[in-house]
Subunit: 234 residues, 2 copies
């Protein structure tokens, strides 16, 4: 990441300075990368003839670059590459915040907004590495056991890399921040309701016999932000 | 929603026609509204001087309108209202799809992309209704029990309504779609890993005494897309 601030920071720059509730803002690389590495679906925004388009898509971070991919004819990716800049946002929802006042209800979350430029990856070796990174980002340990992409499949995949120019994170944690005069309203329950994502029982594909047992990286699926149940497969 | 197609459909229009994997596209109002009503965090995109900005924010749908809100000085909301159009995207992640080939790995999801115009809500009664809708959208039944917004708080909240001009949903469900020649690779486990969001044990606010018991809408929190555990409060 081309840092716009001293030290190991990736912001703030002109677009990422968090103006509202600046106490929630983080510009350090560790916070930004932790959010990017925990998420696996981003919202990619770009402008087409001055109008915004936001699409959800999978991604993987490799160093200072975020890869996204799609079919060569994928309209959104083509326009993203043609445009001058993209905005790529990742949001993790951690729970609800119930305050005594309606006004102070909130959501606990961690989000990262990245501004960057998108380029198509033409180098085949980089494409292979990016595609492996997608699989292993979502299911750590998965890629090695699968049938690798053929040349035709590589041709049939547009890989786009977003070089991070600026990034910022926003983080809200903890309970409600009620007005002092509302703290006496003990008759209104106030607090947090934490959310978590749980991976359920794996379901073997029914379209052809699956003789392999459920691999450990599925049976004990666990990555930051997702809790495995360790349930037997359905 | 100003429909651009016959019947009770909200698309496709020039911007929402799903070009890739059109079998995943849905334009019917029921599918679009079900996704909007299950989610509560959207990604709002707009263009500032031709450059895209995508921010996560809470929302609530009321009829053909989606409300978002923030502080009056909220930069993003101000620019969204000043711009000609916004794109508002909601994505629900339902699980992972593990194929025999790396190429056919996928994610099960439901998403909605809305194109619309954003207007500031000036009418106080509409603001009150929108703010109540935010609270009840995220925690059904919550709003009535809270201290309602004061005039100062209403002034301190910018409410923006996005009128839906066009919308489309994309839905992927089920197992992997491997190539026929890969179906014999029974030694590679293939299938789905379903994800779900679980609301954990409520945590009472520690900043002042909470004498009220955990209300039923928190203790038995359950809304589309979130499973309550019914655990005792922490």
């Amino acid at each position: 990441m081309s840092s716009t601030a001293a030290g190991d920071e990736v912001g703030p720059g002109p677009r990422t300075r968090v103006r509202r509730l600046p106490e929630r803002a983080r510009y350090d690389r560790a916070t930004v990368e932790a959010v990017l590495d925990e998420g696996f679906v981003c919202h990619l925004g770009f402008c087409v003839d001055g109008e915004p388009v936001v699409i959800p898509t999978g991604y993987a971070r490799v160093g200072d670059v975020i890869y996204v991919h799609g079919a060569p004819a994928n309209y959104a990716l083509r326009r993203a590459v043609e445009g001058d800049s993209v905005c790529l946002t990742v949001t993790l929802v951690d729970g609800l915040v119930l305050a005594r006042s309606a006004f102070h209800h909130s959501i606990n979350y961690r989000s990262v907004v990245v501004f960057g430029v998108a380029h198509e990856v033409e180098d085949w070796e980089e494409k292979r590495l990016a595609l492996a990174a997608f699989v292993d980002h979502v299911v750590p340990g998965r890629n090695a056991g699968t049938r690798p992409p053929s040349e035709a499949e590589l041709r049939a995949t547009r890989v786009v890399k977003v070089e991070i120019m600026e990034a910022s994170a926003k983080v809200r944690t903890g309970g409600p921040k009620d007005e002092p005069e509302d703290l006496g309203l003990g008759g209104i329950w106030a607090g947090e309701l934490p959310f978590r994502v749980v991976a359920g029982s794996p379901i073997a594909d029914g379209s052809a016999p699956v003789t392999a047992p459920v691999p450990p990286y599925v049976a004990s699926y666990r990555r930051p932000g997702v809790e495995g149940e360790g349930r037997p497969p359905a």
